[in-house]
């Protein structure tokens, strides 16, 4: 089993990294670049017995900071 956690800055939080990447993309000649946001992707290898509720707790308390970030958790076989 594998869990994939996406952590993204909330829309209300300034993401200067995303803005810098957007600017660099424009400098590279890509037209039509709008807002870019940079987040994190965390892959977790799990044994079959892993508890989904416990993973959500972990996402809220450790892997993301709910003050500034949102997360999504995906568990695959």
């Amino acid at each position: 089993m594998k869990a994939v956690v996406h952590v993204m800055p909330k829309l209300s939080v300034l993401d200067p990294q995303g803005a810098a990447v957007a600017q660099a993309m424009t400098h590279h000649g890509l037209n039509g670049v709008g807002r870019v946001r940079v987040g994190k992707l965390i892959e977790i290898e799990l044994s079959a017995s892993a508890d989904e509720a416990a993973l959500h707790t972990l996402c809220r308390e450790l892997l993301s900071n709910p003050v500034i970030e949102d997360y999504t958790l995906e568990i695959t076989a």
Binding site: S12, L14, D15, P16, Q17, L62, N65, V67
Partner: protein
């Protein structure tokens, strides 16, 4: 007055804090390893600056789960005095002892320079020796010092006069130009609602000796000792 200075893997301002505090006539400071489960007998806990756990995941995110932090939480909730400086401020926010969070500086630069900050209120044990409007010249050294909180939290901070320090120009004006990192409302330091936990991005411990270019950091430590 006894100070306990926490030490995490990656702390690098713990020695500066110990040095600055032990130089004060009425203070003694000792280091406490993060794996300790209990605090020594002390009046103030200092969470120093640095890069605890290499700033992995988020600044302060891993340090806040260190064994000593449970003891710090209990100390704080029973009214004990806690001061978090730079990475220490980030750790206190991650631990939920202070509201909000510190995110990447708006220009993405790591900023290491002296900055003016204005004392907003002497109504705290950390600022009682500095009248409102006092401008302090303190060093900052951070890449993630942009204070963020949602609108409701910002309102509460203002209403409860929890904002203790704001970035300003040399004349005390809190303009956007004087804001080094994009912090909301130029916030450089806040306390909790109970006013016993204080977090700030500037380093008062690096401004306690004339050799270092400023002694304005003493205003904070001498307030604690007053």
């Amino acid at each position: 007055m006894k100070f306990a200075v926490l030490r995490f893997p990656g702390s690098n301002c713990d020695q500066d804090c110990l040095f600055a505090l032990n130089a004060l006539p009425k203070a003694s400071a000792e280091a406490v390893w993060h794996k300790d489960a209990a605090l020594p007998e002390c009046d103030v806990v200092v969470v120093p600056g640095g890069f605890s756990y290499g700033d992995y995941l988020r600044c302060g995110a891993i340090a806040r789960f260190s064994p000593i932090m449970q003891a710090v939480k209990e100390f704080a909730t029973t009214g004990g005095t806690v001061i978090g400086i730079c990475n220490g401020f980030q750790i206190l926010c991650e631990a939920g002892l202070l509201p909000g969070a510190l995110v990447r500086n708006r220009d993405l630069h790591f900023i290491c320079e002296h900055r003016a900050v204005r004392v907003e209120t002497p109504d705290s044990r950390f600022t009682r020796n500095a009248p409102a409007g006092t401008v302090l010249n303190l060093p900052i050294a951070h890449g993630e010092g942009c204070y963020f909180a949602d609108d409701a939290t910002m309102l509460a901070l203002k209403k409860n006069r929890q904002i203790l320090l704001r970035y300003c120009d040399s004349r005390g004006r809190t303009t956007d130009d004087a804001n080094p990192n994009g912090s909301r409302s130029n916030i450089a330091g806040i306390c909790n609602r109970e006013r016993n936990v204080f977090g700030l991005m500037p380093h008062p411990e690096r401004a306690c000796d004339p050799l270092l270019g400023s002694t304005d950091g003493l205003a904070i430590f001498e307030s604690l000792l007053a």
